[in-house]
Symmetry: C2
Subunit: 248 residues, 2 copies
């Protein structure tokens, strides 16, 4: 009697297992969590600032982002979301959302009721700790973004962001041959970096000219990982990947 969503949890389980080995019991409990799966188009809000959600969303595939808006309508993307992420897990303990989540590409999304998650956390304390840990890593990423936006400029800022994305995608098995799919527009990069679209375009042009990156449609190739890391002053410690290969 298996849950129909059994295999949908693969990416989440892959993420959690980078920390510790799940027991069969814990893995099964996860795989049997009921969720409502939806297929969303690109540029769709999944949740909005001010919402009081009663469920959290697990990204099963595709790219999304967490963002906030100023009262003047300027958007700041505060993190990118990939498969296996639960971008609004914090709503489990914070009633009102202080940010929105939107798809960047078509996304497969699973909605898990809070009561189901609470129940899981009560029964499996190690899973509760694992979820807590995931939110702590999110916080570590936000800290690094404050640093990136506050202290780094031009190509360094851009390169750092690309390094983070590559390492996270690699950890999820989404990088092959120094190449990954990155359906993020220059305007979205701009909103993430605190630049204008024009400036992002010029920075990327310079990086391509120097052979740091190769862009073909939504495919990004990094010919020389070490050099990109150096330009981006990138140290993956803050991503807290126990599996050191992924970070290298």
């Amino acid at each position: 009697m298996h849950s129909p969503f059994r295999h949908e949890y693969n990416s989440l389980i892959r993420k959690l297992e980078s920390i510790f080995t799940l027991t069969d019991d814990e893995r099964q409990a996860l795989q049997n969590l009921p969720m409502q799966v939806a297929m969303l188009k690109d540029n769709q809000d999944i949740v909005r600032e001010g919402d009081r959600p009663s469920r959290s969303c697990l990204i099963l595939s595709g790219f999304a982002c967490v963002y906030k808006m100023t009262i003047h309508g300027k958007r700041q993307i505060v993190s990118f979301v990939i498969a296996g992420d639960i971008p609004d897990l914090q709503s489990l303990h914070l009633k009102v959302l202080d940010n929105s989540v939107s798809t960047l590409s078509p996304c497969r999304v699973g909605f898990i009721p809070h009561e189901v998650l609470h129940d899981l956390c009560t029964r499996y304390p190690r899973l509760a700790a694992a979820f807590w840990r995931e939110t702590l890593i999110d916080a570590a990423i936000f800290r690094e973004w404050v640093m990136n936006v506050g202290q780094r400029e031009g190509a360094t800022r851009m390169a750092h962001l690309l390094c983070e994305l590559l390492v996270r995608l690699k950890a999820m098995g989404l990088v092959e041959d120094h190449t990954c799919d990155l359906p993020i527009t220059q305007s979205e990069f701009a909103d993430a970096l605190g630049f204008t679209t024009v400036h992002v375009n010029r920075v990327l042009k310079e990086m391509r000219a120097e052979g740091l990156i190769v862009i073909d449609g939504t495919r990004l190739t990094v010919p020389d990982w070490e050099r990109l890391k150096q330009v981006g002053e990138f140290d993956p410690t803050y991503l807290h990947l126990e599996n050191k290969q992924a970070a290298a």
Copy 2:
């Protein structure tokens, strides 16, 4: 048979009680946590990036900050820390620290062993949830800082930061008569805002000229709270204070 640190926990308890009412049992469990209390001078690192701490630090009094350094020695302060905060609570689940914590003024600090905290969380699930929640609010503050540094400029950026500090201090009872003690130098504001010291000085000069703030040594007075909020485009939702008075 009371713990000698009983009253030291007042600020932490005050913070936690903004969420839900603690039972006598829970309050007592907190008050009996053993900790090692130390008095630190200003500008002392409490923990450093790369540390693998076996305890967390509770700020009992004074001001501190969480910061990160670029490889070129530029410092980004990613949050200010006041009484009742546990700035490295994340080390409970993340082995390696990805940031440092330093005092800004003389501070009274309590160190609580991780095993003690783990034990408390196991025995009192509601306290575990409360601690998790605290780390989620920290994350919300980081998100807002990304927004502040990425999208706001000049006086708006500065005003937003001051608004946050005032609301948090007020919630802890540290604001009287529109005035609080704020032992933060212009150079430290600069590191928090991604400005230079020179620029902070000019922005503050402008804000004083407009009567937005009054500075007398380390005392900050805000004659017109509504106007400062407006200039800073400040909405306290992200601080997740249930006690709405504190936010107003």
